[in-house]
Symmetry: C2
Subunit: 264 residues, 2 copies
Amino acid sequence: MIFTTETAFTGEQDGIYSAVIHEGWDVVGNANGGYLLALAARAMADSAGRPHPVALNAHYLSPGRPGPVSIEPEVIKAGRRFTTARATMRNDSKELVTLLGSFGDVGALEGPMRIDAEPPELPAPEDCIRIEHNASGFPPAMMSKIELRLHPEDAGFAVGKPTGQPLFRGWFRLLDDEPIDAFALLLAVDAFPPTVFNANLPVSWAPTLELTTHIRGIPESGWLRCRFSTRFISGGMMEEDGDIWDASGRLVAQSRQLALAPKA
Amino acid sequence: MIFTTETAFTGEQDGIYSAVIHEGWDVVGNANGGYLLALAARAMADSAGRPHPVALNAHYLSPGRPGPVSIEPEVIKAGRRFTTARATMRNDSKELVTLLGSFGDVGALEGPMRIDAEPPELPAPEDCIRIEHNASGFPPAMMSKIELRLHPEDAGFAVGKPTGQPLFRGWFRLLDDEPIDAFALLLAVDAFPPTVFNANLPVSWAPTLELTTHIRGIPESGWLRCRFSTRFISGGMMEEDGDIWDASGRLVAQSRQLALAPKA
């Protein structure tokens, strides 16, 4: 249960939560954005008194290094079905990420069903390419904390053969098949390589400015089936859209982030 | 310049901005969500000292009625290229909408260009169907404040013949061809009928929980070419994705909202 343990807050006093950015969740030294989301959202959900993030926005302000952080949630409105709260995560010198979210009980809503999309077709996990941490820094350290398996057709970038399509499809699960809760979905939406790595553009850092996640269901146990794609690289920016499906074939999360495009 | 006039803030004291929800921007009595966005974002951009919203999140808390409101922006971080701020808009009794955004100069960034999408094909504006306010309340009053023209193939819902596809394509402009700035894009992303009106589901209110807009460019003058679609109506919720293109064929905004699906 390494994910649950390493995203738990460690205390709360006067509404300010303490937590720790643990070692090993980084991409060349900086904590993964999804990991920071999970850390912050646990404190926000606790403060809101609701079990799940439903719609969560994050703006990334400074890189997060391992060590203690504080999260100060503020409830804006507690409604009948949702509680809306904001929070900023700080270390002792600066703001790392600021968030706004509505929290509720994802399974409690009902309504009609209509799905105009299919989960991505993927070879079985054992026939996909596991992305494993390399001491050089790529793939990054956080790959040792999760299991990520890419569609073989999308994996060539790792050996210098990007597909030319800004698309990644693959499987995600936690180590030891730890159950995936709503907070682990926040990790999953930012766990894949940036789509730009497959776009025949200079492979460099594409820092996330903003990331929004909608939690649409709580996953059944098993692998998540994931698809991340980009349609518009323009004006120095790019969006990256994610759809995440559970093992039963149900959509469980959608994400969109706005990142700075690598310089031409 | 009715849009600029009716979304301007009227004063600022001690960091709290005054503004007015003007008459006529409503959908059966409640101010349109995009109109509220524009109103709030002008105050936030002023407070941030940046010309444009780049990524703006809003959570809708209570319906907005015509009358005075206050907006209290708080800058979280002023960085080199972006300033991140949050704000809540209130009337004298409650919170209407709470926002988080990063503000900057949209035209100032540079980078590579790669577009994997086409603007929607639309008949000329004069061959599309203008949506005009009807005293019954549908189409809503705000249609008198803008010019919205739907693709004829998507317009049958208005006469009881939904297409069955949760999709709207059409043209948008301000009255008297008032130039469309970044704030008017915030209006445009929520100006079309809810996609669910075309989905062969009970036509009823689909209240927006959360709406995120990315401003990707400042439009050339002329009509905006818009496309709004939904892929997942499930678990009592639905997303609605918008792409907005300017007259020169350039993507200028993307939006995604999470709304509550009508009850089955």
